[in-house]
Symmetry: C2
Subunit: 459 residues, 2 copies
């Protein structure tokens, strides 16, 4: 029997889409690496079906690309010609909330926002959060170790996963649905699948850690004169504001562009650095007084030149709208968003070097910076009008060569996928990449799991 | 040339101890699994020497046991007859503190307390902390993912490690000395070595995350009538006390024994549950008022029957002395300290079942319970007078069979070593153990790294 016959016999026709039945959505993630029609799309409804599907594909040496919400920015979920896509979209739902322990068991295809809302209804915060929350799925969030905006308070995604279930290439179901904070019983297999971008197996279920739901949130926008002040303000905030939940920095050209585009003015002029600080609080007047006292002290100490505390949720959203910069993508079609990390003390030095190097090559480029500074994460927006594929590659090369020089990371939160694969050695040593290959071969000896992603081919 | 000749030629005689030169300390960790003289003890002074030593041993198919501070309780650092021990004791020191980023780069042989003190001098808290801090070493803390008493606030050890350097069996130096919070560049190799108890390689260096040093700490001792109240008080504390840094529960028989032994009385009688709550604060009167208000509310709500706030550090230490129960080990020689975890809501039901099962077999046994309840971690103290090795094994079997029934973990923080190795399948599936074997074979094909530990032999 052929592969497709085998799959249909095991899973049924409604689970195996081929040809015209394959919708547009399965052809590309949110990166710009091109569209491609998969050989087939599998839509299993449970772990057993994922296991059956992979065992059959493994027997046929058939490459399989796992697909979640397809919001990734690195090409990790794109099928190459001839690949089969396996979508988790029918495996959606929260199976259990343990309110005593503060944990949630959830299927991999559950949209993040759905899981967040169910947690909230039960009185909890699901601390994993990012802009694509409406479409992205938990399985994809875990597979890419998606970062986001609350990391400074609650850690990266991998810190919020207590257990998971994954299916290996040969169909083995690996159930590590641990629900405890402490569990030292041999190798931490769950951490292997988190961030592996589907190259070691498919995550089907997870136990996530929940946090108390903050009663309310205080938000301030601050104007600062130097990066030294930014680092000092961050340290002071980390020491003083115990529920510090965001510390976002925008460099001058980023603020100028986005505030103008949005027709928003907050201060008398645009300062070298604009910071958003948020603190989760229990909602008392005392908390507000403390937050104000913190800012007053920062003003007295000369760290902050001007500051505004949001008087309403609407005002807080206005601060964030500048930071989110949604108009930038519209006004600068083809804008490149580089996602790197460096020790926090070096972010501005890197920004200066990076801007100079990019402008030396592309004098008309628009280069701007913002970052989740508290997490050492810098985003670089680069826009070169009518850029060719070759130009785009040159931008990457210039930026990542500098990242290597600074011993930083070429991917803070977006992952590697195909887009950054050939730059992996800029952040990881040949010894590390060699060990990744050994682990890949141990878990997926026929190399069917998302081949061509993350790990560059051996020379 | 013989193995020892090879080692001496490469490393020098002062690095290779044999025969009578091997001191008593290298013969056993803090478990009671017996003493054994290693074939040799290697004391490398740097990563290159570790690499040379392992490459030579690998060529000779010579088993190697890494040794840190030898405070482990599961036999993981004990040499079997014929094994070579490799001690990290000469690789000690803090190499760098990045005060902007809040990170510390430290050699594996550094005693935990030394690293803590250096962090404190620089104005930071190193959040890894446990009772053996004076003797245990960072490399061992990471290799066992050592738990401890501040996990509720700062996460387990693996959450506080940003990067590490490890040497593989064949001498490959794997340098992943990442210093950033966010770094999504391929597989997270560091997590593989953390908790692997030296079976995949030897950790030589690490980058640790530091936290702001709390200005002071508030400590309360509370008397509660039921476990339902304990869980409600924990939830309330997690919601209300933002710097909650300890939530420890003692069951009645544990408190009675230890308070009597220490001649300490806090309440009018011994209650079913005694809780220690600690909160890190900035030291203002306001914080104290809030802490008092939290306890007053718990009293009003009927959760807490009586409570004391420590008026001095001395008083806080007195609370902790009951919890630490040091006299228990002295008064009950051969006391077994089981270390398990279960979802927090089930700890008391388990305690009841476990006590009943143990007393059914050993009617004169003393069974007591305390736990880092906020981390789902329960310790069971079992004392059977003049217990034989067979009795001890029966105690383990009774307790771990129950843990399996509850889907808990047979090791919350102590690790597996040899003591729990043959019970590993009580908490991990055959599929998981199979994957552990595949990873072990991929990284250590000749099986020289700490053989016989953690993973049970394939049948």
């Amino acid at each position: 029997m052929t592969l497709i016959d085998d799959l249909i016999e095991a899973l049924g026709t409604e689970t195996v889409l081929t040809g015209n039945a394959i919708g547009e959505r399965y052809r590309s993630d949110a990166s710009t690496t091109g569209k491609s029609l998969p050989l087939a799309v599998l839509r299993p409804s449970n772990t057993e079906q994922v296991s059956l599907a992979l065992a059959i594909c493994d027997r046929h040496r058939q490459p399989v690309v796992p697909q979640g919400g397809l919001t990734g920015l690195a090409g990790g979920a794109n099928a190459r010609g001839g690949d089969i896509a396996l979508s988790l979209e029918r495996m959606s739902g929260v199976e259990e909330i343990d309110t005593a322990a503060g944990t949630m068991t959830v299927l991999a295809g559950t949209p993040l926002e759905v899981a967040q809302m169910i947690a909230e209804t039960a009185g909890f915060l699901l601390p994993i959060d990012l802009g694509a929350r409406g479409s992205c799925q938990i399985g994809g969030n875990l597979s890419t170790n998606a970062g986001g905006i609350r990391v400074i308070r609650h850690g990266v995604t991998r810190d919020n996963v207590l257990g998971l279930e994954a299916v290996l290439a040969d169909g083995t179901v690996l159930s590590s649905l641990n629900r405890m904070t402490k569990n030292n019983t041999g190798y931490d297999l769950r951490q292997l699948f988190i961030g592996a971008e589907g190259t070691l197996g498919i995550i089907t279920r997870a136990v996530l850690r929940l946090r108390p739901l903050p009663a309310s949130r205080l938000t301030a926008l601050c104007a600062l004169e130097s990066y030294g002040h930014v680092v000092s303000l961050l340290k002071s905030a980390q020491r003083t504001l115990s529920g510090l939940s965001a510390f976002e920095a925008m460099w001058e050209s980023y603020v100028r562009f986005n505030a103008e585009a949005l027709k928003l003015t907050f201060f008398d002029k645009t300062y070298p650095f604009t910071i958003i600080i948020e603190q989760d609080v229990d909602g008392s007047d005392e908390d507000r007084d403390r937050f104000e006292a913190f800012l007053a002290k920062a003003f007295e100490d000369g760290l902050v030149t001007d500051a505004l505390i949001a008087q309403s949720e609407k005002e807080a959203r206005a601060f964030w709208s500048v930071r989110e910069g949604h108009l930038m993508d519209q006004l600068m079609p083809g804008l490149i968003n580089l996602d790197i990390s460096l020790p926090v003390g070096q972010l501005d030095a890197f920004a200066g070097d990076c801007q100079a190097a990019l402008l030396a090559r592309f004098p008309a480029a628009h280069v701007s910076f913002f970052g989740h500074v508290g997490d050492s994460n810098l985003h670089v927006g680069v826009w070169v009008e009518n850029a060719s594929a070759h130009d785009l590659h040159e931008v990457d090369t210039i930026a990542y060569d500098l990242v290597r020089k600074y011993k930083g990371s070429i991917s803070a939160e977006h992952g590697i996928g195909t887009l950054k694969r050939d730059f992996l050695d800029h952040s990881r040593s040949q010894a590390e990449i060699g060990v990744m290959r050994r682990i890949k071969a141990a878990l997926d000896p026929n190399g069917i799991m998302n081949p061509g992603k993350v790990i560059p081919p051996a020379v």
